[in-house]
């Protein structure tokens, strides 16, 4: 009897002490699924596309120089309940790929919240414009990435493989995907120079 009372008391104490007061409720949580990075004028814009039930994509634009800064601003200022644990895709405009790609992938590699298997690809500016209108586009892009990976084993489509390619010494570059949207949505191979780690030429 005493044991039961102690168990109930312990369970009762656990609930208020375990941080339930800071819990993020699912209906107010903002899950970022896709991030795009583009240049507009002299500024870099990070757009966080959040999971939503609306017909059109719901994206929040944040001006920042680096992914780390954009994430910090998103979490503290713009999107307070944001969670990036469900990030599936990151698209970087090809014009700013160097050194943006390495910097952003290196940051994602150092943060526990990101999955190493999240997709990352380069794209053109037209695709980034379409992302603001079409909600089905991220899913189509993911399918294209998986398709191109199945046909080409050496192509790198996620944070894990892209980061490891940058870390590999002695390699001049590696292949990753470029998502083209000129006529139809298509992922093609593109060669990226490996000047990732500081001091490497």
């Amino acid at each position: 009897m005493l044991r039961k009372i102690l168990c109930f008391a312990l369970c009762f104490c656990i609930l208020p002490l375990s941080g339930c007061s800071k819990a993020r409720h699912i209906d107010s949580a903002a899950l970022a699924e896709t991030i795009t990075v583009e240049r507009r004028g002299s500024a870099k814009i990070y757009t966080f596309y959040l999971l939503s039930g609306k017909e059109k994509p719901w994206g929040i634009e944040i001006e920042a120089d680096r992914f780390e800064e954009a994430k910090r601003l998103a979490e503290t200022v713009y999107i307070p309940n944001m969670s990036m644990a469900k990030l599936k895709l990151m698209l970087i405009e090809q014009e700013i790929a160097e050194p943006q790609l390495f910097e952003d992938v290196a940051f994602a590699a150092s943060d526990a919240v990101f999955s190493p298997l999240s997709y990352v690809a380069l794209c053109d500016s037209a695709l980034l414009g379409q992302m603001k209108k079409r909600k089905d586009l991220p899913e189509l892009i993911e399918k294209e990435l998986i398709l191109i990976k199945n046909n080409n084993e050496n192509i790198n489509i996620d944070f894990l493989s892209v980061f490891n390619e940058f870390a590999r010494q002695g390699s001049g570059g590696f292949e990753m995907t470029f998502v083209n949207s000129e006529k139809e949505l298509k992922a093609t191979r593109v060669f990226v120079k490996n000047r990732g780690f500081p001091g490497r030429e």
Binding site: S18, A109, A112, L117, F159, F163, N164
Partner: protein
């Protein structure tokens, strides 16, 4: 109500194997960077081999004399009993604190950054205290199921990450310092020898080969983990703390990606068994009121935890692999001293 019933020695070894796995699950920049695969494998084999050697005094005492350290201490005078009990108690508390600090650190850094470390420690120690009060029999009985769960989780993690393996040309690298650093790390499972020496008196059907099988299984697990981190994670593994957590994130089975929750489950069960068994062992050594011991020692662990989270220098000492290994050496030396002296005492009594 605790019932002192003999249980199978194999069950105790299984539990200790589960505890030993926590060493690599909570590895956090403890291993030397840029060591070649051959050097790392050699350090694993040497470290685990040394653990088996450190097991031998307790094993021989158990096998030949059918006794454990607690039986030996009963025949000692009061001063000797107190001195040796203090040595083992301090060692076990240090070991428990080492793993508790790592666990709470991993928990707050990887899962719940808002949760205070002290709260995790309180809840965890409350459960361990109750388990220790129930005794080693109850803990080891529970651990059979936990071991089964752990096997399933490891199969899923390694199986799911197999698709990411990319075997490239191995670069030869590293030096003697790195080898010694790794060797010291892989000797940390030797805490199992001390726990065994203090709890084996409650076991029956002991067989020497249990120790060799457990050692081989542990070495195989360490080696598998090293291969997967080197060839599946690659350079990505060094970007974050707790590399096994990263390994669980790259697991892929169909549409399911990432098994961080299962990693948390196996770490929790391993550390729980370790701390619960350690407090059991302290209970057996200290003697007296079991309920009081089961409360006092977790409270000591909690106080040490507070000190470690408040003062970095305390944390550095309590998280030091070198200090833990030195303590292990002292504890095993104490076991050897007691084990050697035991036969002589029996002859004197006769």
């Amino acid at each position: 109500m605790r019932i002192s019933v003999k249980f199978s020695s194999a069950r105790l070894m299984l539990t200790l194997l589960l505890c030993g796995m926590s060493v690599i699950l909570l590895e956090n920049y403890n291993l030397a960077a840029n060591q070649s695969l051959a050097s790392r494998m050699l350090s694993i084999a040497s470290g685990v081999g040394l653990c088996i050697v450190l097991f031998l005094p307790a094993a021989i005492l158990r096998k030949n004399k059918n006794a454990d350290i607690c039986d030996v201490l009963k025949r000692k005078n009061r001063v000797s009993k107190t001195v040796f009990a203090i040595i083992f108690a301090v060692y076990l508390i240090f070991t428990s604190e080492y793993f508790l600090l790592k666990y709470t650190d991993m928990f707050t850094k990887k899962y719940y950054t808002d949760a205070p470390e002290w709260l995790i420690a309180v809840l965890f120690l409350a459960v361990c205290a109750y388990a220790a009060y129930r005794g080693a029999n109850a803990v080891t009985r529970f651990s059979i199921f936990l071991f089964g769960l752990a096997l399933i989780v490891y199969a899923l993690i390694f199986g799911g990450a197999a698709g990411e393996l990319k075997f490239s040309g191995e670069e030869l690298g590293g030096g003697c310092d790195g080898f010694i650093n790794d060797l010291l790390f892989f000797v940390t499972p030797s805490f199992a020898a001390v726990i065994f020496s203090l709890t084996s008196g409650y076991t029956e059907k002991f067989c020497l080969r249990h120790i060799f099988i457990s050692g081989a299984a542990l070495a195989a697990f360490f080696a598998a983990e090293e291969i997967f981190e080197r060839f599946a994670l690659g350079a990505y593994a060094n970007q974050q703390e707790y590399r096994f957590f990263l390994l669980s994130k790259i697991q892929r089975l169909g549409e399911i990606k990432g098994m961080e929750a299962m990693y948390m489950a196996v770490v929790t069960t391993s550390v729980f068994c370790l701390i619960a068994l350690s407090v059991c062992a302290v209970n057996y050594t200290a003697g007296g009121n079991v309920l009081l011991n089961s409360l006092v020692f977790p409270v000591i662990l909690l106080v040490l935890h507070f000190c470690a989270t408040s003062f970095i220098s305390v944390r550095e000492i309590l998280s030091s692999v070198l200090v833990l290994d030195i303590f292990s050496g002292v504890a095993v030396a104490a076991i050897l001293l007691l084990a050697v002296g035991y036969p002589n005492e029996r002859r004197n009594h006769a």
